[in-house]
Assembly symmetry: C2
Homo-oligomer: 392 residues x 2
């Protein structure tokens, strides 16, 4: 269930990228696309192996072009040439960026012309959960240079491909889930009344790093008397108090892959309301685990979990969904929501994240990470305690 | 010079946001804009105080609308309502996101109509170092709903305003620079031959957290015999060896504000070439420090530093610039580059980042963070050692 103590190898063998590219090119051919244009960190990494925290700098645009045949072409700032060349890509074209008048647009246009000629079709992810990571004005200039070319939506091609993880991807996610499961077991030694949320979160970040995660890229949550009212805020300076419910929700990273799960703790004692709410989200997760098997839809998972929350007295939880995909981004498609009829397949890695407002201004949210196997859900996280843990 | 040991207060008083808004509205009035539309983490935080790592999730779009008079309006997913309401914004409008057919577009269009009517002008950052963080298809739908409205570029309004930091912003940057300067002093205890880059980087991350940074959001670099060939890659599994030059370049964060500087270390001994290259980039930084005063331009800084690098035998360094602005993002405008004639003003926080290839495949890069004062540059980082430190 939980990741073995052995660390999986970093990176991927070339065949992993070959399979991804073949998958994309098959769909491109069906859609009549001559090229795919990708601009975001996760999509570029997926097809090239290019991995760097340099994406933190918003200054420079980065482009990867997938032709309908042959390997991808990287069109990137010179500062990334050595890092990109370490990966799978052979054709790396660079310019000195930032450039005041032509920040890669001409070079990109030329690369696209090689794939799509003057009247072809270029796919770009344009719909839900996407954005174009380049200046809008430069995208306008690109389109002006390529007036005969049609730019059309390619959200689904990338979405469908990335949604099903390979065994090597699953091993990385499983590993980081295991490390963070271990870190959460240390909670009684890390958190105590009197400590501020900031101090508690810092102690947890250090614990995760010590245990072997590469980065604690995401850690949000908070605490409040008998329950918290918000799950996306940074930690506050308020000291933890007896009777608080504390939640930490973390996306730690190993070799470019995330976990995304949370744990709840009561400080010194727990109210009956909080215990009941915890039991409700725990049972909702059980319902999700039972429902999550190949052939079921994300909507099925939503309804199975929501029924338990409703029966448990949920006042509401207007966050749009009860879990989502997980991989090289903290959240990925699909969504466990009434509108998402994505059919689960083996290899999909998803979160189960039932949450509810159980009293005015008091939330309880639970989250586990699973992979879909032929015979159902396999936990990647070590299952949370069945009763709200009391610490301190 | 270096941050005092006392931790600056978190957050900002309301007056900080009032001044920022007044500044924007003055420029909007001159540019004839009825509203500004902002979609990225840093821009939304700047005018609202909304701070969360939830931006790691690419699923949901977030919008802030600045009208030509009155306070900004937040149009955001319900999951962020409590976090946004803690800040300066009064008017927070939410929807249940993700939504399959209308992910905030109608709500945003209505908010823009209140500001700009049916034929007004809406400013959006569209040029260098910007992107629109929402699906392109949704932006298309928004424009279709607002066909009489002109969407025009507002890059400069936000750029000019954010480029000059307030005393409270400078205090946060100065604080994190001080903490990380302390962490780098611990290098002899953290790094040693035999240790992999990954282990060295992990030890440094823990050290920074222990000393009080909120997050180590950015840590790149590497090591190589007599010099490294890449400064943006993640750490490798290669063991540090005697004679290696090791660089760590980090953007740690305190209360939403970054440092961005690096330090070089020789493991056990340093080659003469590496020592000379270190001296050259050190002296180039000195030239930058002397040049960086109000009235000088970023191009002036570039030329002053590049002259020293050229005299020191630089083979090249095609990264487009020798430093940049710094604040709530790891890199911000301006750029120390021949094309950037931004005139330095008191309150600007910038990096000085001279680097060069000193032998084929061997780089040396140096970086300090400074604030421009009436009488010149004030270091926020503790000045690097004048000679390449040998450790281990």
């Amino acid at each position: 269930m939980v990741a073995a103590a052995t660390t999986p190898p970093r990176g991927f063998p070339d065949v992993e990228y070959e399979v991804r590219l073949e998958g994309a090119q098959r769909e491109m051919s069906e859609a009549g696309l001559d090229a795919l244009l990708l601009t975001t960190a996760a999509n570029i990494a997926y097809f090239s192996g290019f991995q760097t925290q340099f994406w933190q700098s918003p200054t420079r645009p980065w482009f990867l072009v997938l032709p309908k045949t042959g390997k991808p072409v990287a069109v990137i700032p010179e500062i990334g040439a050595a890092c990109m060349a370490r990966g799978w890509i052979d054709d790396v074209r660079t310019w000195s960026s930032p450039h005041p008048t032509d920040d890669g647009v001409s070079l990109l246009a030329a690369a696209l012309t090689e794939c799509a000629g003057k009247t072809g079709r270029i796919g770009v992810p344009m719909r839900s959960e996407t954005h174009l990571r380049m200046p809008m004005a430069d995208y306008g200039r690109l389109r002006k240079k390529k007036t005969g070319v049609e730019f059309s939506d390619a959200t689904d091609i990338v979405r469908e491909l990335r949604m099903v993880k390979s065994p090597l991807e699953i091993a990385k996610i499983s590993h980081v889930c295991g490390l963070v499961s271990d870190a959460f077991e240390a909670a009684p030694d890390l958190f105590a009344a009197g400590q501020s949320d900031i101090e508690a979160f810092r102690a947890f970040k250090i614990e995760c790093l010590r245990r072997g995660v590469d980065d604690v890229s995401y850690l949000v949550g908070g605490a409040g008397p008998g329950g918290y009212d918000d799950i996306i805020s940074p930690p506050s300076e308020r000291p933890l108090q007896s009777g608080d419910v504390l939640i930490l929700d973390t996306g730690c990273v190993f070799d470019g892959y995330f976990c995304d799960f949370d744990r709840n703790f009561a400080i010194e004692h727990a109210s009956d309301d909080a215990r009941r709410a915890y039991d409700t989200v725990y049972q909702a997760t059980e319902a999700g685990l039972t429902t999550a098997h190949p052939g079921a839809t994300c909507a099925d998972i939503f309804h199975a979990m929501q029924a338990v929350l409703d029966a448990g007295g949920a006042l509401g939880n207007d966050v749009g969904r009860l879990g989502h995909g997980l991989g090289s981004e903290l959240t990925e498609p699909p969504s466990h929501a009434p509108f998402d009829d994505t059919v689960l397949k083996p290899g999909m890695v998803i979160t189960l994240e039932p949450g509810m407002e159980f009293a005015p201004g008091k939330l309880m949210v639970h989250e586990e990470n699973i992979v879909i196997r032929e015979d159902g859900a396999e936990l990647l996280t070590r299952r949370a305690a069945p009763e709200l843990p009391v610490i301190g």
